[in-house]
């Protein structure tokens, strides 16, 4: 009856050998291909560094002007533009300007990459049920696996630095835009699609004239979520050597610097709120034509 008392686990020795074997071969792999993979990510790294330098080299009043201008263009709201400008001035006043620029650079590049990679994947998923069945569990894993579990192999492969940080952010932040692109396209009114068919639209015309425009509200919600999740990863990314607002937060955890943590934390929150409100307002504005009202 002992089989019921104790789980018939693999022998200790075997288990250790298995782990060792996998660890060993991964180490081999990272030794053999680490450099190639690093080279592959080199353009991304250069873009990130370039953008960060650009932000830091630009005079601060100009940055504040640009931030306020973008906020206004996105939301058409003076209040929001003013709020964004005031937040950035406060951030600068409390000595967090450089870290904030690094973080903005990281988030921007991460978001652009998520959109460029995520939307096409979402579109492909929406066209094939089989692909959807295959990708959905991958997205689930990406969102739920403890971050450190995939951080470790990434660090083993690429060392610490900006690129592994960026990859960590991408893994965590990409799923929403993929999911919502897929969902949005699947939710497009079947009647309108039928009309497109009836007028002889080919698949490409259907995609660009009907499916993507009608899915845009959902795609946009996905982008918004992606930005928020990328910001949430800032502190974790700093653990593997990414500069930015996460770094002081990390320091403050290690040394119990209450105020330092609070200030940098608030800066992250301010960025999040600005990004969120502006992108949401912009998304809403895209939908203006859906509002009724005759002869408006």
């Amino acid at each position: 009856m002992s089989i019921l008392d104790e789980f018939p686990a693999m022998g200790r020795q075997d288990l250790r050998d298995l782990k060792k074997g996998i660890d060993g071969s991964f180490r081999e792999f990272s030794r053999g291909y680490g450099e190639a993979i690093e080279n592959f990510f080199d353009p991304v790294l250069r873009a990130l560094v370039w953008f960060e330098k650009l932000l830091l080299a630009t005079p601060w009043p100009l940055i504040i002007l640009i931030v306020a201008g973008l906020a206004y263009l996105g939301s058409r709201s003076w209040k929001l533009a003013l709020g964004a400008a005031v937040s950035f001035i406060l951030i600068g006043y409390f000595g967090m300007w450089e870290d904030t620029m690094s973080t903005v650079a990281l988030i921007s590049v991460a978001t652009i990459l998520c959109i460029v990679i995520g939307i096409p994947i979402g579109i492909m998923m929406s066209r094939s049920n089989r692909l959807q069945a295959m990708i959905t569990p991958i997205l689930d894993v990406m969102q739920t696996i403890p971050i450190f579990v995939y951080l470790l192999p990434v660090v083993m492969l690429l060392g610490i630095g900006k690129v592994p940080g960026l990859i960590a952010v991408l893994v965590y932040a990409m799923p929403p835009v993929v999911r919502l692109t897929n969902l949005g396209i699947r939710l497009v009114d079947a009647e309108i699609l039928e009309a497109a068919d009836a007028f002889g639209a080919n698949p490409r015309q259907k995609l660009f004239d009907v499916q993507i425009p009608l899915a845009l509200p959902n795609i946009f919600a996905g982008v918004n979520q992606t930005i928020m999740m990328a910001l949430a990863m800032v502190v974790i990314a700093s653990m593997i050597g990414v500069k930015g607002l996460g770094n002081p937060v990390l320091q403050s955890i290690q040394n119990q610097y209450l105020t330092l943590g609070l200030m940098n934390g608030m800066a992250i929150v301010a960025l999040a709120i600005i990004f969120d409100r502006v992108s949401q307002q912009y998304g809403k504005r895209l939908q203006k034509h859906r509002e009724g009202g005759h002869g408006v």
Partner: protein, 348 residues
Amino acid sequence: MSKTKVSIKNLYKIFGPQAERMVEKVKGGMSKTELLEKHGHVLGLKDVNLDIPQREMQVIMGLSGSGKSTLIRHVNRLIEPTAGEMIVDGEDVLGMSEEQLREFRRRKASMVFQKFALLPHRTIMDNVAYGLKIRNTPVEEARERCQRWIDRVGLGGFENHYPAQLSGGMQQRVGLARALATDAEILLMDEAFSALDPLIRTDMQNVLLDLQEELHKTVIFITHDLDEALRIGDNICILRDGEVVQKGSPQQIILKPADDYVSDFIKDINRARVLEVGSVMNGKIASKGPEVDRSMAVEEAMQAMSKADSKTAVVTENGKAVGAVTLDQMIAAIARPAAGNKGDKTYR
């Protein structure tokens, strides 16, 4: 009758995973209910044969679930039939490649939908130009053409509005203009006016009749509304449970309903307004009385006779006398036929 434009031959549509195999069973006489209960397949259309003449309005009528919307989608192959033929202008639609089919849909047959199916993110102008954009018509030319159609359906001034800003009736005008803008010879109208309220519906019927007088398209019009069918149809085809119950002109259907189902359908219509003098008259060229054209409604003819205080009238065609009609004949014709004598039947 003029040349046949669309010819539907032995068309079957069965919904289900093994539709092909079920065709034989249906041909062997299996009913819709039996097919569903025993094999889990739904019979959509059963042996539909219909020749649709060029430049006329063919109405296909039936209650919901009778297969009329399924049938119209076979004409431009939005739905693939399980068996049968669909010939348009002597060309086999079912044999077309995807590219040929797209070309067919772009140039030959355009469609108007029950729920309008407009693009909500495009202006009225861009919606009307949709069919032209798809086939890469130069923008300037498309604009010019579409402007004409927008004006023609009475929406001038709304070019830059969005569909959500228009009422249902106006939106369907956009749908109609979009379909007309491609200059397709065949116009498929799937319950195009059913979602509109009665006054607007009559209005739209007038718009369509007006346009037809000038354009002479081959129109296939789906409706569940008999009044609408009688009003606009040159020919009517009545479907029930996917089968053709009767085809013919409105006059034929009213005077000689094929079965109880059709009789039931027509029992509440205003016969005096729909029946034409020509359907009631006798061949004797005779007598005195006012002249009435053979296409005049019985209702109007009776008024004319009453005004002239005459019990007979001379029926004319293009001004020439072709027959006579008496008041008694007309009264007999507009009397409701005896109610179904085979007991109360209900139809789904």
